[in-house]
């Protein structure tokens, strides 16, 4: 199905419901779908589980969602930063659940969800606090931890450009979590700088095939 083209970020996120699991792409500011996050803030959905590399910074985006206690749980690799004060406060108050996942396991668990893999043995985290309570196994003399897929109801992603079928290309390190989150969510909502006509993207260079994209919205130009 060709993706729905939303006129605004608000329209793009309008069906995100209370209690949803929402993946949010980006690593630092690169690939962060800031307008979609702001729209999620405005749409009022609460009791969210958010999957992101971080847990919000300063007074914008995900940090605001956390400040307003709209997030019940964060699954991420690196919550604590110099400016993660809203996370810090909510977490210390016991008002935010944290599932801390090594970054590569986070990426692989997201991929596994999109790829229909039921679980996988990863060497990352073996013998550490983050493997406590998890199944482990020594394979050919090397220790591994069993990790499970992370699925989501929605993914909010920033790409550079889409065609009308939702095929996506990204820009430099802003690619990061976008392509795998698009595969792991029931609905992928993607903000792009422009939507070009079908046939304008070289099929060899499509990074996310349109099958993984449900909603597109154009936001400004590439900044």
């Amino acid at each position: 199905m060709a993706p729905r083209i939303a006129a605004t970020a608000a329209e793009a996120v309008a069906n995100i419901h209370d209690g949803a699991t929402v993946m949010i792409g980006g690593f630092g500011n690169a690939g962060q779908p800031m307008e979609l996050i702001d729209a999620l803030m405005d749409c009022g959905a609460t009791n969210l589980t958010v999957v992101n590399n971080n847990a919000g910074q300063a007074d914008a985006g995900l940090a605001l969602l956390i400040k307003e206690r709209r997030v019940k749980k964060v699954i991420c690799s690196f919550p604590r930063q110099s400016d993660s004060w809203h996370f810090d406060t909510a977490y210390r108050a016991g008002e935010l659940e944290l599932e801390l996942v090594p970054q590569g396991n986070l990426a692989e668990r997201i991929r596994a969800a999109g790829a229909g893999i039921g679980g996988f043995f990863t060497p990352t985290g073996y013998g550490t606090m983050l493997a406590e309570g998890k199944e482990t196994r020594v394979i050919d003399g090397k220790g591994y931890v069993l990790e499970t897929p992370i699925n989501a109801d929605f993914a909010l992603i920033k790409a550079l450009r889409a065609d009308e079928l939702g095929n996506l290309v990204y820009r430099k390190t802003a690619r990061n979590f976008g392509p795998i989150m698009a595969t792991a969510a029931k609905q992928s909502i993607v903000q792009v700088s422009e939507i070009v006509s079908t046939g304008s993207l070289d099929p060899e260079n499509v990074i996310t095939p349109g099958i993984f994209v449900d909603t597109l919205v154009t936001i400004g130009g590439n900044n």
Binding site: S77, L100, A107, T128, N176
Partner: protein
């Protein structure tokens, strides 16, 4: 693979941070694929020569990372794992997070250089969490990097502010990875770790005997 001598050497003065970085850089084999962790290891890139032909990986999705970007070259879509704007060298490539950590976890990188809180004589690494009560944990890619590369090298101060050795018999900080470190660069000495044996390659501002007296692990002097 490495170019260092195994002959024991000593210098009168402790190494400066730049000298440590220069030594690490000189030890990186020509043509190697390398990931430099955040903090001191990042400085190593300043001492790599063009002739070495080293390719830098940044785990947020790039091979062929160039120097830090300044002025007009700053592009928010092009950052390193420390979220600092960087540049792109000819022959670079971009990939998504799952592919990037697969590259790391799959053992395709030759060297990863990391900072540390502690390293044990058997190469266990602690560098992600102080374990202090109330500290908010954040792991990022630390555990993936620790166990992924063909060789993991550590750069750290040898002693804590209160004078305790950070090269220990057994970690007191939470584990990042088990048995993964093969070399440690400190201001006072460079150590090779293999099969539980700690060999001192060089000392700086301290004699081998003095060093042996201060460290809680048995040391072997390089031939």
């Amino acid at each position: 693979m490495s170019t260092e001598t195994t002959t024991f050497t000593t210098t009168d003065a402790a190494l400066t941070r730049d000298e440590m970085a220069r030594l690490v850089a000189a030890d990186i084999p020509a043509g190697a694929f390398v990931n430099l962790g955040i903090g001191q290891p990042t400085n190593v890139s300043n001492f790599l020569t063009t002739e070495q032909g080293v390719t830098l990986h940044t785990e947020n999705g790039m091979l062929g990372m160039g120097p830090v970007a300044t002025g007009e070259d700053i592009d928010e879509d092009l950052i390193n794992a420390g979220k600092i704007p960087v540049t792109e060298l000819p022959g670079a490539s971009y990939f998504h997070h799952a592919d990037s950590f697969a590259m790391m976890r799959g053992g395709h990188l030759d060297v990863c250089v990391l900072g540390a809180f502690q390293v044990s004589g058997s190469g266990d690494l602690a560098n992600w969490h102080t374990g202090a009560p109330g500290a908010i944990p954040a792991v990022g890619g630390a555990m993936d990097l620790a166990i992924g590369a063909k060789a993991t090298w550590v750069m750290m101060g040898l002693f804590t502010k209160t004078g305790e050795s950070k090269l220990v018999q057994a970690l007191s900080y939470p584990v990042t990875g088990l048995g993964c470190v093969s070399r440690i660069y400190t201001e006072s000495a460079i150590f090779e770790l293999a099969g539980g044996t700690v060999t001192v390659r060089s000392t700086h501002g301290i004699s081998f005997e003095e060093l042996a007296g201060r460290l809680p692990v048995e040391l072997v002097k390089a031939a």
